[in-house]
């Protein structure tokens, strides 16, 4: 066990855990941030995707000690505020993307990392960036449409 200081969604938090514990379980079991999901435990499904310094990582396979000092963003921290959602979240609602919804936190975090680097992604960009995220319900068609809509929203927001 070790006392670790983490920076999650803009806040400093301390937690006393085995440093080898995957970030996923620190988030979920120690810090109560259950929005990040457990799907496979082997970085195969993307349900646990969070950002470390803006890069999408699989929290299920990332020992917590390796992200000390990095800015971690989870789905709970994706929206700018309680009242204002991220354009991707808005687009997800508008397109009625979720079915069961279990994978969508991970999908959104992968998509957010994509748009941060590639504001106007092509379908091929989306395929590449979202390849690590499984949707068992099969909402890919709406995910693709929602990413494009969010990109348009971001572009309009900037030009306005």
């Amino acid at each position: 066990m070790a006392a670790l200081k983490l920076r999650i969604n803009g806040k400093e938090v301390s937690t006393d855990v085995d440093p080898n514990t995957p970030l996923l379980w620190v988030l979920r079991d120690s810090l109560g941030l259950t929005g990040t999901k457990f799907g496979c435990g082997m970085a195969l499904c993307g349900a646990c995707t969070v950002h470390a310094d803006g890069n999408p990582i699989r929290a299920c396979s990332t020992p917590v000690s390796t992200v000390v000092g990095q800015a971690i963003t989870t789905i709970e921290g994706l929206a700018p505020s309680e009242s204002k959602l991220h354009p991707l979240q808005e687009a997800w609602i508008e397109h009625d993307v979720p079915q069961c919804g279990y994978c969508q936190a991970g999908q959104l975090m992968s998509a957010a990392a994509l748009l941060a680097k590639t504001p106007q992604p092509s379908d091929a960009d989306i395929d590449a960036a979202m390849a690590g995220n499984i949707c068992r319900c099969g909402t890919y068609q709406r995910i693709r449409a929602a990413v494009h809509t969010a990109a348009d929203k971001l572009a309009k927001g900037k030009s306005a």
Partner: protein, 752 residues
């Protein structure tokens, strides 16, 4: 673990009963009360001057939160506040099929509520109040349609009476719209009428007028899911997200070969591991649908429990465990398939052997499909807490109502001492019709003080499933000189666990298409013994046999040199209703429209093909046309899928489309590369690297069209899936002339 207190029912029988229930033929609902229409809604006073109209029971609605004196609570489904907020309780499990939006829409339609006034909450699990509270067989809409409409209409009628009394005008002169009662230029909102409505007598639900279809204002439009905002912001909706003060985390290890028992385990060593609170053997009751023998480990975090599991050493007694071998079963079926008829005859209609002999042309084929797992993305889990003389559960289950009695029986406690809280479910697909993980959590909670969350690893979830059974069909078809189908013979090779009945999802009923459409039809069956648990998987039976039937029909039309659309319509025959619900007129309509929308018959580039398939299941008529291309290396691209369905009137257009889009993706994913195999009783695939669920890059463009016929509305979670595989395989044949007879497609060298 206490002894069971009721008559034992085998896991097999339990699974068959679930299928019967899903198909609307249940004879013995487990936790249901028959709905007495006369007692449908009864008025009961409530402390504080409010009003409760309880469903079935005549007691205050246990589903509703305590109503304050300011609220109008016309029944267990509806609570209207004086501020005009309309709270609607969703009684069914939300498993991704959109029922938490669809059910309230049905109530809101008859209530004439403005949708933006509606807030939705999950109802308590209490089948005595709410009736059916399960999600399976695409039965939610058809089985609850009338109940929900009447719940809304009764409330509306009371609000109209309240307004009429206020204005001193006949109720018949009043109308409703957008959460208000209107009379001439006068208008009173439902919130303003709530107090008065609460004092009025409740009309008999049987006499309340329901809307005509043409009067619908809400149904059939595009609605986004009521929980979308919570989903996209990561709120704790799912079973696995439940958190209680002082909660601990558990894993439960069972024998990798089903049926193995614990002889010994290194419990002392496990208990000393960091973060581990306890470890113990659970004997179980030997039922796969309840509690199989195993070892529970309870720890401070899920990770500590998972790590301890890696160090767990169990000496399994496998004397009665599964030794199933898929490779051996494939061999044995292959031998059996050489026989034209099987051990038992299901249907012997006309003179099939003679008709085949006399046919101008005969085609013989042997089809094989694989076992598959459900693999919902949320692994099985359940939180349980033994406290205050009860056991309370937070369960992501598809059958919350059944869970009550199943759990009570498995744990040996009275059903009154079981409380189940229904959470959102991270994917059902039929897996969570069984409540084994709920029973396991309960068995652990009986041994451990304080709340415990049981979480299965992905590996456990994939290997310890109730699998969609594989199967084998040795077929022969006969064509006359005009290329008309005149005889059909199928020797179906399936599996049995009890030696008498086919496994769940491994049956082929006598009514299955095209049995009733042909003069000469013979269906025989041989069953191979199996211990691997099987269960309902999205569109049970249909999800596999539709591929065989619709592929073989295409083989026949190709052999006859005929257009497949014309051939299929000819087999369907004149418009009529067949036993089991297939309406050949509705079938023909969806087939024709699917072909029209897909541009059937148009010229395609080299290596491209169109494939058509139809299937009727879960009361839904669906035709689909796939457009594919295949390159020289058998790399497959599904460019487009046109889906045309007739499920009667649509409740929520977005939700219905989404189910069809997902059905296509699921169908394609499953036929493409998913396969569960077992050797020595052990499942060989453990995680997604060996079970490659389709990724976004391979998603076809899906177009959905509905024929909203004037039939009762039916469900859409399942029936769009079965035609997917045959449509794609028929398109592959059209593209490159290769007939696929083994699934998944990777077995025949295809890739995406």
């Amino acid at each position: 673990m206490n002894a069971r207190t009721r008559d034992p029912v085998s896991a097999d029988e339990y699974l068959r009963e679930i299928i019967r229930e899903m198909e609307g033929e249940s004879t013995a609902p487990a936790a249901r009360m028959t709905v007495d229409r006369r007692g449908f809604l009864k008025l009961t006073g409530l402390a504080g001057g409010g009003l409760v109209l309880a469903f079935c029971t005549g007691t205050p609605a246990e589903g509703a939160a305590a109503a304050s004196a300011k609220d109008f609570v016309p029944n267990a489904f509806i609570k209207i506040g004086r501020d005009g907020t309309i709270l609607i309780y969703n009684k069914g499990p939300e498993i991704g099929q959109g029922i938490k939006t669809a059910f309230p829409l049905i109530i809101a339609e008859e209530l004439d509520a403005k949708w933006s006034d509606v807030v939705v909450e999950q109802a308590a699990v209490n089948p005595a109040v709410f009736g059916n509270q399960s999600a399976g067989g695409s039965r939610s809409i058809p089985s609850s349609w009338d109940q929900l409409r009447k719940a809304g209409a009764v409330a509306r009628s009371m609000l109209v009476s309240a307004a009429a009394a206020t204005w001193n005008v006949p109720a018949a002169e009043c109308t409703t719209r957008d959460s208000a009662v209107l009379h001439g230029n006068r208008k009173l909102g439902y919130g303003a009428l709530a107090a008065k409505a609460a004092t009025l007598p409740v009309p008999d639900a049987a006499t309340v007028k329901l809307k005509e279809r043409g009067e619908y204002r809400l149904l059939g439009k595009w609605y986004t899911g009521v929980e979308n905002r919570k989903v996209v912001t990561g709120k704790p909706l799912f079973g696995i997200d439940q958190t209680l003060p002082g909660m601990k985390f558990a894993v439960y290890e069972k024998c990798p070969a089903v049926g193995g028992k614990v002889r010994a385990a290194n419990l002392d060593e496990i208990k000393k591991l960091p973060g581990v609170r306890d470890a113990f053997v659970i004997e179980g009751n030997g039922k796969t649908t309840e509690v199989m023998p195993g070892v529970a480990i309870v720890a401070d975090t899920t990770w500590a429990a998972f790590e301890a599991r890696k160090k767990l050493r169990v000496d399994w007694d496998e004397s009665a465990a599964s030794k199933d071998s898929w490779s051996e079963l494939v061999k044995r079926a292959g031998e059996l398939g050489k026989q034209p008829v099987g051990a038992t005859t299901t249907v012997a209609k006309g003179a099939t052997p003679e008709a085949l002999k006399a046919a101008a042309k005969t085609v013989e084929s042997y089809y094989t499909y694989q076992f598959v797992s459900h693999a919902p993305l949320e692994p099985q889990n359940c939180t349980a807490w033994s406290h205050d003389g009860i056991i309370e559960f937070w369960a992501p289950t598809q059958t919350a109502d059944r869970a009550l009695t199943t759990v009570a029986g498995a744990l040996g406690v009275p059903v009154e001492k079981v409380k189940i809280n229904q959470t959102r479910v991270g994917g059902g697909f039929g897996r969570r019709l069984m409540n084994d993980y709920v029973c396991e959590a309960g068995a652990i909670a009986q041994r451990f003080a304080g709340p415990v969350k049981l979480v299965w690893t992905r590996e456990q979830d994939m290997t310890q499933d109730f699998f969609r059974p594989g199967g084998f069909h040795a077929l022969a078809g006969g064509l006359d000189a005009a290329g008309k189908l005149v005889a059909w013979r199928n020797h179906f090779i399936t599996f049995t666990t009890d030696g008498t009945n086919p496994v769940s999802g491994g049956n082929l009923p006598e009514q299955e298409f095209p049995a009733q459409n042909l003069t000469n039809y013979q269906l025989t069956q041989t069953m191979l013994p199996l211990k691997t648990p099987c269960g309902p998987w999205r569109a049970p039976r249909s999800c596999s046999v539709a591929w065989v039937i619709q592929s073989f029909l295409h083989e026949l039309s190709a052999a006859a040199g005929r257009d497949h659309r014309d051939f299929l319509l000819e087999v369907m025959g004149e418009p009529r209703l067949l036993e089991g619900g297939l309406n050949t007129g509705r079938a023909a309509d969806v087939i024709k429209l699917a072909c029209e929308k897909a541009g059937w018959g148009r010229k395609l580039p080299e290596g491209h093909g169109l494939g058509l398939a139809f299937h009727f299941s879960h009361a839904g008529h669906f035709a689909e046309v796939a457009e594919v291309s295949v390159d020289a290396n058998k790399k497959l691209r599904v460019h487009r899928m046109v889906v045309v369905g007739d499920i009667g009137p649509i409740v929520n257009m977005s939700g219905s489309n989404n189910q069809c889009e997902g059905g296509v993706t699921d169908g394609f994913s499953t036929m493409m590369g998913l396969e569960i195999t077992m050797e020595n009783g052990r499942v060989e695939q453990s995680n997604f690297h060996q079970y490659p669920i389709l990724r976004i890059a391979n998603q076809p463009k899906v177009e959905v069209h509905f024929i909203q016929s004037d039939n009762p509305p039916t469900g859409v979670g399942e029936p769009a899936l079965p035609p997917v595989a045959p449509a794609i395989c028929n398109a592959i044949y059209a593209a490159i002339g290769h007939r696929v007879r083994t699934l998944p497609l990777t077995k025949e060298g295809f890739s995406v």
